[in-house]
């Protein structure tokens, strides 16, 4: 049975004339954690943004090829003109290298994506916020100060908040761009555990610099080199 | 629905931007249309060089051009050295606290109403000039230039300072490491690399001097003739516009103010284009 959820065919991507991806073809399986490694500055993060079309906000970038997503058992072209970008980004969440909570309270940060999606009922919002924070192992630490500023949290807490914020939309796919590289090893360890637990509900793609991290948590490793994705083995 | 709202939003914003830009063209259009009779057959250029004698049917505004040129250029002469000195001071010589306060004062000065400069000019500077030179009323090119120099100094200082601050810190570090004093660094490293800021500041200040109405109107005397000395009264293009209150909208006298308006508009547009060519430094920080 075909268990894949993302299918990429002959994907080319260039940025200001610089070719970053030169014909990438790959499919990702459901409920797996795939790590993407490779030399820095060669477009690993950019590759992630081709899946949620976030690169389109960057001037000077151009894309060719096909990215498909299996939504409700049907393959849908991500770049079709009928695709609602906002809806796509709710299905394909992203977490960045540097935690980026918005300058508002913890609760408002969590409720923000719901607000964007037009969810208004207070009870529902409350329940979803709590559930997402619990899934991100953050609830116990912040339940007493939901209304204080998110910027007062520690780096690791901020990153878990950002993950929880992405989870609240119940995405099918979660993209992580070096999620631990701005954190100390304790905080990073917590995020790693969290990533593994996320596999139950989502498909996870993660850019990472650390091969030891990859060997600890990833199901497979893809090396981005010379514009191609190569399946590489994981040394355990 | 969401996409529709986005489109409406974007269109609304575009209309605002287009309308604002249109105002720029509309102003020029109005001036042209109202001054039209004067522009027909190249008369405009004749007017530039002719004297003003409504009695004899002559509506040249040479005197006003001369007045504007004399007063604004002189005010630059007054303001430039002071501004250069103050921006030297602010950049590397001032004790930290004093520098901070002075910078704030300079920023505040850009917001002091020009009518107040004019008012103090009338009651403080003009009597002083009158007594010093014992000649005429004291309402003259010199008084207006001094006051105007004070008005435009803050503008110049802020642009100069921005220009100095934009010079790469690496160069300064290198010079200091080679044993250059603060002043030497300023003269041999900062100043030569800040010419853009200097030019921008000069042009902006000139624009402000040419465009100011109240100071010249209140203390330059407003006589319609080409001034021949610092103590002569003069009338600028701006005060000429302010002073004409012709009841008859069809008189040539009335139309001449639009020719003055066109001249001022074009001079300032030229200044703006010149600054854009230079690649302005810190353009948006001019006020605060």
């Amino acid at each position: 049975m075909d268990n894949s959820i993302i299918k990429i065919t002959d994907l080319h991507f260039s940025y200001n004339g610089l070719k970053v991806l030169k014909g990438v073809t790959h499919s990702f399986e459901k409920n797996t954690l795939t790590a993407i490694t490779g030399p820095s500055g060669k477009g690993k993060s950019t590759f992630l943004t081709t899946l949620n079309r976030l690169w389109e906000d960057v001037p000077g970038a151009a894309l060719q090829g096909c990215v498909e997503l299996k939504i409700a058992e049907k393959w849908r072209d991500v770049y079709a003109s009928s695709m609602d970008i906002a809806a796509l980004r709710r299905m394909v969440g992203m977490v960045f290298q540097i935690p980026n909570p918005l300058p508002m309270s913890i609760f408002r940060n969590m409720a923000f994506p719901l607000k964007l999606a037009g969810v208004k009922e207070k009870d529902q919002v409350q329940a979803k916020v709590q559930e997402a924070l619990e899934r991100a192992f953050l609830w116990d630490e912040v339940k007493d100060r939901l209304h204080s500023s998110a910027l007062e949290l520690s780096g690791g807490q901020q990153q878990r908040l950002c993950i929880a914020r992405a989870l609240i939309l119940e995405p099918m796919v979660l993209l992580f761009d070096e999620p631990t590289s701005s954190l100390d090893y304790q905080a990073a360890g917590m995020i790693e555990d969290l990533l593994v637990s996320l596999k139950e509900s989502c498909t996870v793609l993660m850019v990472s610099h650390y091969l030891d991290q990859v060997s600890r948590i990833a199901d497979s490793r893809l090396e981005l080199a010379d514009g191609k994705l190569l399946l590489s083995n994981i040394s355990r | 629905m969401m996409i529709n709202r986005d489109k409406t939003f974007k269109t609304a914003l575009f209309i605002c931007a287009a309308a604002s830009a249109l105002a720029t063209l509309l102003i020029f259009g109005f001036l042209l249309v109202f001054g039209l009779p004067l522009f027909k057959g190249g008369q405009f250029f004749l007017l530039l060089g002719r004297p003003w004698a409504p009695g004899q049917g002559m509506y040249g505004f040479l005197p006003m051009i001369a007045g504007t040129a004399a007063i604004s250029l002189l005010s630059l002469v007054v303001a430039f050295p002071i501004s250069l000195g103050v921006s030297f001071f602010l950049h590397s010589l001032a004790p930290a606290a004093l520098g901070k306060i002075l910078k704030r004062l300079v920023q505040f000065m850009t917001g002091v109403p020009t009518v107040i400069y004019g008012f103090i000019g009338v009651f403080l500077l003009v009597p002083l000039i009158r007594e010093m030179f014992e000649n005429g009323s004291g309402m003259c090119v010199l008084s207006a230039s001094l006051m105007l120099g004070l008005l435009i100094s803050p503008t110049m200082i802020l642009f100069f300072s921005d220009g100095f601050a934009a010079v790469d810190k690496k160069y300064i570090q290198a010079a200091r490491a080679l044993g250059a004093t603060r002043v030497q660094t300023l003269l041999f490293v900062v100043l030569p690399n800040a010419w853009r800021g200097l030019m921008t500041g000069l042009i902006m200040a000139l624009g402000r001097a040419m465009g100011d109405t109240l100071i010249a109107l209140m203390i330059a005397g407003n006589a319609v003739n080409v001034p021949s000395s610092l103590l002569d009264p003069a009338r600028t293009l701006t005060s000429h516009i302010a002073l004409v209150s012709a009841a008859d909208y069809h008189s040539m006298e009335f139309k001449s103010i639009f020719a003055c308006g066109v001249t001022l508009y074009l001079l300032n547009a030229a200044a703006v284009i010149a600054i854009r060519r230079f690649g302005a430094v810190g353009k948006d920080k001019a006020h605060v």
């Binding site: 976030l54 969440g93 992203m94 960045f96 540097i98 980026n100 918005l102 300058p103 508002m104 408002r108 409720a111 923000f112 607000k115 964007l116 999606a117 914020r165 | 969401m2 939003f9 974007k10 914003l13 575009f14 931007a17 604002s20 830009a21 105002a23 720029t24 509309l26 102003i27 109005f30 001036l31 002071i82 030297f88 001071f89 010589l93 001032a94 704030r104 505040f108 002091v112 109403p113 020009t114 009518v115 107040i116 004019g118 009338v122 009651f123 403080l124 003269l187 109405t213 109240l214 701006t238 516009i241 302010a242 103010i257 308006g261 001022l264 300032n268 600054i275 948006d284 006020h287 605060v288």
Partner: protein
């Protein structure tokens, strides 16, 4: 250059810089000092309300003669009108410039705004004046009035509002820019919920400065309907008094010492208004917590 010559240049520059700074400070304090010295005695309720009881004057029960109240009311109304005209248009135009305009369009529109910012205020006044003439041809009896002044002043401050909005929005870090987008925000939601609140302090300080320009400008209004005596403005289409014009008028037309003193008083009030606005603009830039403006 010899070592000695270098040393002397060094000293000369230091002396030059210090004396420039001292001259500037002295000039400013001479200016303010002479205002205060001559005008401080006039400061008081009489200056503003003349012989009328303040409350009656404010409630418009009694007309004020010999006080600045009508001029202050005129300036206040003028500022409110022109700023509420200019702010929505200017901020929207600034958002467009920063977020939507293509590079080419941004250059063209930017040039327009730069030119508009450089147009002398008397020329903007002349524009308003000619507009009034055209309206006079269409509607009999129309003449320069409060509405014309407000519209002209709005045009005068428009480019500042566009620029401050544009620069403060463009200054937002790319990281913050994509945060909400990655969470499924549309471009408009991103602007309304994240980018605008984030640039609010810059925009606000632009607005405060625009208020200052509207309050101090004399050249625009002297061509578009301000007069020396009109009482408290009663209609948008009537003539009105304003503080800066009053100062100008007194400086050339004062008949006695008392009137001159009122002129000094008016100058002090106007200067204080500008000082207050300046301090507010500084405070807004510095201390504003952006969170105040997030509303969910």
């Amino acid at each position: 250059m010899s070592e000695k010559a270098l040393k002397w240049t060094d000293r000369a520059v230091v002396v030059f810089a210090w004396s420039s700074a001292i001259i500037l400070i002295c000039a400013l304090f001479l200016l303010i000092g002479s205002l205060l010295k001559n005008g401080w005695q006039t400061l008081g309720l009489d200056l503003i309300f003349g012989n009328a009881p303040p409350l009656d004057a404010i409630l418009l029960k009694r007309r004020v003669f010999g006080g600045l109240f009508p001029a202050i009311a005129g300036t206040l109304l003028l500022v409110v009108l022109s700023v509420s005209l200019a702010v929505p248009i200017g901020v929207c135009a600034g958002v467009y410039m920063s977020e939507y305009a293509s590079a080419g369009l941004r250059r063209i529109l930017g040039l327009c705004f730069d030119i508009l910012a450089g147009v002398p205020s008397i020329v903007v006044g002349l524009f308003g004046f000619s507009g009034a003439i055209i309206l006079h041809r269409i509607f009999d009896g129309f003449r320069p009035c409060l509405a014309v002044s407000a519209a002209s002043l709005a045009i005068l401050v428009l480019p500042y509002l566009v620029r401050t909005t544009q620069t403060s929005m463009q200054g937002i870090s790319p990281g913050l820019r994509i945060t909400a987008l990655a969470l499924g925000a549309s471009k408009m939601q991103n602007i309304v919920y994240v980018l605008l609140p984030r640039s609010m302090s810059g925009i606000l300080s632009g607005i405060v400065l625009a208020i200052g320009r509207c309050a101090e400008d004399t050249a625009v209004i002297m061509l578009t309907g301000v007069v020396a005596t009109a009482g408290v403005p009663g209609s948008l289409f009537g003539q009105y008094e304003a503080l800066p014009f009053y100062i100008y008028y007194i400086s050339s037309q004062y008949t006695d010492q008392a009137e001159l003193m009122t002129g000094y008083g008016a100058s002090i009030i106007l200067l204080c208004v500008c000082l207050a606005l300046f301090l507010i603009a500084l405070g807004v830039r510095k201390g504003l917590s952006h969170q105040v403006f997030y509303r969910i």
